[in-house]
C-alpha cells in the first residue's frame, strides 16, 4: 500500500486567546488543510532564523468543520517550544504543521455512545474537539464530561463549559484538586473509582470512554474505570508525559 507523505504545511496565527495563566489557544489558517477527525493532533515545527528547527505535538481543540484550526498549548516550564507559543507568538506569525495524526483516540458519530469523556488539565483539548463535533453531528448521543483541574483559575475553556451545561444530553462535572473555595459547587479532589461510580454511565450501558490528561491521572482513571466494570477495549487513553520536555 503506497500512501502519500503527510506534507508540512504553513500555518498562520489568526487569533490567540489566553485560556488560563499558562494555557493558550491558537487559531490558525493552514494552507490546504485536509480536515481532521475529532480527537486528533498535529506535529508543529518551528524554524529559527538560522534554520534550526524543533518539533512538538499539540492537540486540536476545534471541530472538524470549523473554519480555523485551533490548537491548545500548555506552557511547560523549561520547555523549548511551548514557551514560544504561549508567550512570544502573536497574530500574523507563521510556523509549520503536519497532520492530522492519530487514528485511535478519535470519535465519530458511527461509534455511538453513551460517551464518557474524562479530562485532566490541558487534556480537555481533544475532548473539546469531540464535543464540538458531537454538537453538530450527533447531538442526541448521551454524553458525560468529567473534568479535573487543579484550581478554579486553571479551568480551561470556561465559556465552553458553561455552554455545554445547556445541552440536555450532555452532563458536565468539574472537580478541583487544590485550594477549593468553600462555595465551590462541583466535585473536590482527584478523580477516583467512587467519583466515577457516581458520575459515569454504568458499565451495563456499554459506554465508550475517552481519557486524556497527565500520565498519573490517566493511569488512575483508566484503572478505576476497569475496576467498575468497563472493558479495557472500551477505554481509549491519551497520556501526556510527566513533563515531556527537559534538557
Amino acid at each position: 500500500m503506497r500512501v502519500p507523505r503527510l506534507p508540512w504545511r504553513t500555518a498562520e496565527i489568526v487569533a490567540v486567546r489566553n485560556e488560563t495563566a499558562h494555557a493558550r489557544s491558537l487559531a490558525l489558517r493552514v494552507e490546504g488543510w485536509p480536515g481532521h477527525a475529532a480527537g486528533q493532533h498535529v506535529d508543529v515545527r518551528l524554524t529559527a532564523a538560522d534554520g534550526y528547527q524543533a518539533q512538538r505535538s499539540y492537540s486540536i481543540s476545534s471541530a472538524p468543520a470549523a473554519a480555523e484550526l485551533e490548537l491548545l498549548v500548555d506552557y511547560v516550564p523549561d520547555g523549548e517550544v511551548s514557551p514560544y507559543l504561549t508567550h512570544e507568538a502573536r497574530v500574523g506569525d507563521r510556523f509549520e504543521l503536519r497532520g492530522p495524526i492519530g487514528g485511535y483516540f478519535i470519535w465519530t458519530a458511527a461509534y455511538g455512545g453513551p460517551l464518557l469523556l474524562v479530562a485532566g488539565g490541558s487534556g480537555i483539548a481533544p475532548l473539546a474537539s469531540i464535543l464540538a463535533y458531537r454538537a453538530a453531528a450527533a447531538p442526541g448521543i448521551a454524553t458525560h464530561l468529567l473534568y479535573s483541574a487543579r484550581t478554579a483559575e486553571d479551568i480551561i475553556f470556561k465559556e465552553r463549559l458553561e455552554a455545554w451545561k445547556e445541552d440536555p444530553a450532555l452532563a458536565v462535572s468539574v472537580t478541583l484538586t487544590r485550594n477549593v473555595a468553600a462555595d465551590w459547587s462541583g466535585y473536590r479532589g482527584r478523580i477516583d473509582a467512587a467519583m466515577l461510580h457516581e458520575v459515569a454511565f454504568a458499565a451495563s450501558k456499554s459506554p465508550l470512554a475517552y481519557v486524556c490528561g497527565p500520565t498519573a491521572m490517566v493511569e488512575h482513571v483508566a484503572d478505576a474505570l476497569v475496576s467498575i466494570g468497563y472493558p479495557a477495549g472500551r477505554v481509549r487513553t491519551e497520556r501526556f508525559g510527566p513533563t515531556g520536555e527537559s534538557t
Partner: protein, 209 residues
C-alpha cells in the same frame, strides 16, 4: 537539522541548540528528555506472574513457550541503549536486562528463523510488526528489568519487547509472544497511519514517510 528551503522562519524563535555530541545521538525532530514518559492507547494490563508466559508461534503452532521462572532461567543480557519515541522524545543511556531474540531462538531449537517477519502480541490486544532481520544479532530483547529494578506495569512490565533502533512503539509493552508470519502486515499503530518500519534516523513516523 537544516531547514527545508520553504520553511518559514518563526519570528522570535531561538530554540535550544544541542551539543555536537548529543546531536550525533539524537535523530531528526527529536528532543532529549530525562523523564520516562508513558504513552499507550488504553488501560494498563496487570498480569500476575503465575499467569504470565511467553511464546513463539507460527500459525496456530506453538513453537516454544516459557513460564515466568523458565524465562528467568534463560540467559539474561544487560544492555544500555538510546530510545526514541515517535511523539518526539528521546532518552539516552537507558539500562535494561532481558533475553535476546537470539537466545529465544536457540532455546526453542530453531537454527534459523522460520519466516522473515513477526507480529508481536501483547496483553490488552496490542500488536506490532517487525522484520526478523531487525531482531537477530543482539538487536532485540524481551526485557524484564529497567534501571536495575523489575519493569513497572506502566512501562510495559512484567515484560516488553525492546528494539531500540526503531521508534519505540515497535518495542511492544506487556508482550506475550511473537508470531512468525510469511508476509509483513500492519499491527495496531501501523493500521492507524503510522509507518510500517519506523526508522527514527529516516524520520519514518507516519505512512508515506
Amino acid at each position: 537539522m537544516a531547514a527545508d528551503e520553504k520553511s518559514p522562519v518563526s519570528r522570535g524563535f531561538v530554540g535550544r541548540r544541542r551539543s555536537p555530541a548529543q546531536a550525533e545521538r539524537v535523530p531528526p525532530g527529536q528532543y532529549v528528555t530525562l523523564d520516562f514518559p508513558i504513552l499507550s492507547a488504553g488501560p494498563t494490563p496487570h498480569t500476575p506472574l503465575e499467569q504470565w508466559s511467553f511464546a513463539l508461534q507460527q500459525g496456530t503452532q506453538r513453537l516454544a513457550e516459557w513460564s515466568w521462572p523458565q524465562f528467568q532461567a534463560l540467559k539474561q543480557t544487560p544492555v544500555t541503549v538510546d530510545i526514541h519515541c515517535v511523539t518526539k522524545w528521546s532518552k539516552l543511556d537507558t539500562r535494561w536486562v532481558g533475553v535476546t531474540f537470539d537466545t529465544l531462538l536457540e532455546a526453542a531449537g530453531l537454527n534459523t528463523p522460520p519466516t522473515s517477519y513477526v507480529m508481536a502480541y501483547s496483553d490488552g490486544g496490542y500488536t506490532t510488526n517487525l522484520p526478523v532481520a531487525d531482531l537477530v544479532n543482539g538487536q532485540a530483547l524481551i526485557v524484564t528489568k529497567f534501571d536495575g529494578t523489575p519493569l513497572a506495569p506502566g512501562h510495559g512490565g512484567p515484560a516488553r519487547l525492546l528494539v531500540p533502533h526503531l521508534y519505540f512503539w515497535k518495542s511492544a509493552k506487556w508482550v506475550r509472544g511473537l508470531t512468525f508470519i510469511t508476509e509483513d502486515k500492519p499491527g495496531f499503530w501501523e493500521s492507524l497511519g503510522y509507518h510500517m518500519y519506523g526508522d527514527p534516523w529516516k524520520e519514518q513516523r507516519y505512512a508515506g514517510d
